[in-house]
């Protein structure tokens, strides 16, 4: 265990834990859009900034991807930290004014927002879908396409590879804005514009999972497809 200080309070922190985890353990509220406790931190939204003191100097740092160090001091509510979080929210709201998740956080952090209902579903490039697909599902059907020298990309985006997607829908589940859409209608599921064939359970007849997903699970676990083809309720 490491000794750290959060907002003046002495705390024991697990080695390898992040600043955000320790802040959350104290029930201090810090906004996040790109964070998920099961996924590698990405530091995309910049909303979770706090001030940390290491080697004698205070510096801003995104709490989600900063691991704690012994003796670290953390200030979650300093003027600098609050201004930084508000500025990040302000920029996000400038770019995505129609997205509810953004608007709510911006409002909470003191950004002046329009009273009208936000009805947009923008992609914030938070990378939750990309990380879920590679780290949880293990297929990497989604990759980040960055801008960079000589790449000639006007707007960075998430690229979908239909050849490896298994149609599991985890990306749609984790998406904070509803940008990733999934529609399941009887024997068909459409996700990222790709149509998947759903498998009916031989017992109850319910279309419960895409065939590609069951094939993938069969391949990775060695469980025969025929066993997986029965839905969990009827097994």
């Amino acid at each position: 265990m490491l000794n750290i200080v959060i907002d003046g309070k002495k705390v024991k922190a697990q080695e390898g834990s992040t600043v955000l985890e320790n802040i959350q353990a104290l029930k201090i509220e810090i906004p996040t859009l790109c964070h998920h406790k099961e996924l590698t931190p990405f530091g995309a939204c910049r909303l979770c900034s706090v001030e940390v003191k290491t080697n004698g100097t205070w510096q801003l740092a995104t709490s989600c991807n900063t691991p704690v160090e012994g003796g670290m001091e953390i200030a979650t509510a300093s003027d600098k930290a609050k201004e930084s979080r508000k500025a990040a929210a302000q920029l996000l709201y400038y770019k995505y004014p129609e997205t509810k998740a953004v608007k709510e956080i911006a409002q909470k952090l003191g950004v002046e927002v329009s009273p009208e209902e936000a009805e947009g579903h923008d992609c914030l490039l938070c990378g939750l879908c990309v990380r879920t697909c590679s780290e949880i599902v293990g297929v990497s059907a989604l990759t980040f396409q960055d801008r960079g020298r000589g790449r000639d990309i006007d707007e960075p985006k998430i690229i979908f590879d239909p050849n490896v997607c298994i149609g599991c829908g985890a990306c749609a589940y984790v998406c904070p804005t509803g940008y990733v859409k999934m529609e399941t209608d009887g024997d068909r599921r459409i996700i990222w514009d790709k149509v998947f064939k759903m498998t009916p359970c031989p017992v109850c007849g319910r279309y419960f999972a895409p065939e590609d997903q069951l094939k993938y699970i069969s391949k990775t676990t060695g469980v025969p497809f025929s066993e997986l083809a029965t839905c969990v309720d009827c097994r």
């Binding site: 990405f42 530091g43 995309a44 939204c45 910049r46 900034s49 940390v52 290491t54 510096q59 801003l60 740092a61 995104t62 991807n65 900063t66 691991p67 201004e83 930084s84 500025a87 990040a88 920029l91 996000l92 400038y94 770019k95 914030l124 490039l125 990378g127 590679s134 990497s140 990759t143 980040f144 396409q145 960055d146 801008r147 960079g148 020298r149 000589g150 790449r151 000639d152 707007e155 960075p156």
Partner: protein, 646 residues
């Protein structure tokens, strides 16, 4: 570094009197005719008249009437192309700044916009994820602060934006250190995002032998890496190798299809890195290319100078094969004894690139060196014979003279060939040894011993066969022109070493074909070539690689091949090639404000157990697997630096 490359890298303009400068936070303002202070600003832009420039280090105006608001827009537009989008504040902040200036110019702005701009710059710099976002916007802060009236004039409509396209370039400390200027942050970023194929394509634009360079490069990029002073440099060389290995595992993607086929053919002498790079780049431009190679194998020093345990032959052969598959013809065992441009023209070649390398060992200056003793051999010949498959009978003891990579390659090869004892003798100390640290450590692990501060003065032989050497101890005196302390013999310290073989590895020089006198050569026996175009004094003949620089690295030779292709293309089209941008003298690592960097060591790779190395030539160093490579790539701080100027 060679003379020619030094010349090539100092092509930057030094501005002494400026109207305004905030470069690296040092503000000099001469706009109102105040006492004109001189300021030394190494402008990282090519020669010629520069009115104003904006870059990561600040803002510099040579003319007090320079249109700074328009320059700021030009700068932000370029910065926008580099801002990756992985963190919100940098990507959106740049868009917002452009939007604000645009609104000002449309007459919709208020003075509050100026303070909003300043606030955005400060917040983006403090909260960006990478080094680029943390540093890129500072010059905008300077523009708003010191050219407030000019921005205010936009709001009132007194001034308009000029909408100009500014000249611009991008660099980074690693890119600038790379002799071939590879887009290192770019290819690392693609690996990070699991886009290995695109990463390799980007590498190949400037480095046609990625698997070879990824194994053998002396990686000056890693010495320049900003992380070096924080924890450990990125393993840039291994990341390049990872991209190449990934491609090879997928079967090896061919090079792109040449552009429209051109009528002209180019002849190249020498299939080393310089020749191969020039061939590949010329072929991509559509020229017909024939390489004449005197040896039975293509690859130059990569084939016959570097042993297999460092660079397996199949890696090199695969990469040469890809170049051949583009339609480059390689004529092996074809030595050009006499160079006649007339003959080449007759054979249909419009231009010639001489890249014969430096394959002749230097004399070590001892008595009886030329007596033709059995057991005395020069290092490059030893390696060449070994790599070409000549059987070498292991002796019981070998002495290798020299402290460079060739000496190390010889010693480590001897261990593998079954020599019982391999000893390097070097006239200076460990600190002055030019061989790379990895090589020295590898050799020591394998049981090679190094005798420092000693040099042989006489070969001892019995009936024509080497039996030993008379040596003398040295001490270090005053530094010589290379900056290293000069070794001085210690009087009366002579001693005898028994040895069955002596390998002389103290440098190489080129063996040039007989040439028309019009091609100038230097006192070192190298060819004189223009530092930018690589043109020689003979019309249509270009030269590059070790035969111009003297023995240098593979990546330097490769870079000269790339430049020769540009030079030849320009020559055949009657143009002059675009001027190179250099950042020499500018401290690229210097950055205004840097965020908290989470420390973590560089990725490790497995090495072959030293006990298993003797007796075979199996590759010693392992590569990074794709997962480790993506993790290592995430350590990159992305220190891109943008500069625009007019």
């Amino acid at each position: 570094m060679s003379l020619v490359l030094t010349l090539h890298r100092i092509r930057c303009l030094r501005m002494n009197k400026v109207a305004f400068s905030s470069w690296n936070g040092k503000v000099v303002d001469n706009r109102n005719g105040k006492a004109a202070k001189d300021v030394a600003v190494n402008l990282p832009v090519p020669g010629g008249k520069v009115t104003a420039m904006m870059g990561w280090g600040g803002l510099v105006a040579n003319d007090s009437k320079a249109d700074i608001p328009s320059l700021t827009v030009g700068y932000l537009k370029e910065a926008r192309k580099i801002s990756c989008g992985e963190c919100s504040v940098c990507m959106i902040g740049i868009d917002r700044l452009l939007d604000i200036i645009g609104q000002m110019a449309d007459g919709k702005g208020t003075k509050a916009y100026l303070s909003e701009m300043q606030a955005i710059v400060k917040q983006v710099s403090a909260n960006s994820k990478c080094s680029f976002g943390q540093s890129a916007l500072y010059p905008v802060l300077d523009a708003v602060k010191y050219y407030k009236a000019d921005f205010a004039a936009l709001i009132t409509g007194e001034k308009k934006l000029n909408g100009k396209e500014y000249r611009s370039t991008v660099t980074a400390p690693c890119m600038d250190a790379c002799p071939a200027g590879l887009d290192i942050p770019g290819y690392i970023e693609l690996i990070k995002n699991n886009r290995f194929e695109e990463s390799l394509s980007l590498i190949r634009q400037d480095c046609v032998l990625p698997g070879v360079i990824g194994r053998t490069c002396t990686h000056p990029c890693e010495d320049a890496c900003v992380r070096k002073d924080i924890d450990e440099s990125l393993s840039i060389r291994l990341l390049k190798r990872a991209a190449a290995d990934f491609d090879l595992a997928q079967g090896g993607k061919p090079f792109g299809v040449p552009a429209d086929q051109k009528e002209e053919k180019v002849a190249i002498i020498g299939a080393g890195p310089a020749g191969l790079a020039a061939a590949c780049q010329l072929r991509l431009k559509g020229y017909g290319v024939t390489i004449f190679e005197s040896l039975p194998h293509a690859g130059g020093m990569a084939a016959v100078g570097i042993p297999d345990y460092r660079l397996p032959a199949d890696i090199l052969n695969h990469e040469i094969d890809l170049i051949k598959r583009m339609g480059v013809e390689i004529k092996l065992n074809t030595k050009i004894e006499k160079l006649s441009i007339k003959d080449l023209k007759k054979q249909g070649y419009s231009s010639l690139f001489v890249a014969v390398g430096a394959h002749q060992g230097n004399r070590i200056g001892v008595e009886d060196e030329d007596a033709g003793y059995e057991g005395f051999v020069d290092g490059v010949k030893f390696l060449r014979d070994m790599n070409l498959g000549t059987a070498i009978e292991p002796a019981s003891k070998v002495m290798i003279v020299g402290g460079g990579n060739v000496a190390l390659d010889c010693a480590r090869s001897c261990v593998r060939l079954g020599f019982k004892k391999a000893e390097i003798i070097y006239r200076r100390s460990r600190a002055e040894m030019p061989a790379s640290d990895e090589e020295i450590e590898g050799a020591l692990e394998e049981g090679v011993s190094i005798r420092f501060l000693a040099v042989p003065v006489k070969i001892i032989a019995k009936s024509g066969t080497v039996t030993g050497a008379e040596c003398i101890k040295m001490k270090l005196g005053k530094p010589d022109e290379s900056g290293r302390r000069r070794p001085v013999p210690v009087k009366g310290s002579e001693f005898t070493v028994k040895t069955d073989m002596i390998i002389a590895a103290i440098g190489q020089r080129p063996e040039l074909p007989a040439m028309d006198k019009k091609v100038g050569t230097t006192a070192w026996g190298t060819i004189e070539a223009d530092p930018v175009t690589l043109a020689t004094q003979m019309d249509g003949v270009f030269a590059g690689g070790d035969c111009v620089t003297g023995p240098a690295t593979l990546i330097e030779a490769l870079d000269m091949g790339n430049r020769a292709a540009e030079g030849i293309d320009a020559y055949l089209n009657g143009n002059t090639p675009a001027e190179q941008v250099s950042f020499a003298g500018v401290d690229l690592a210097k950055q205004r404000g840097r965020g908290l960097v989470v420390k973590g060591p560089a990725a490790d790779v497995a090495f072959l157990d030293p006990k298993e190395r003797a007796g075979g030539f199996e590759e010693v160093e392992g590569g990074l697997c794709a997962v480790d490579a993506t993790h290592e790539a995430q350590r990159c701080l992305r220190c891109y630096r943008v500069v625009v100027w007019e």
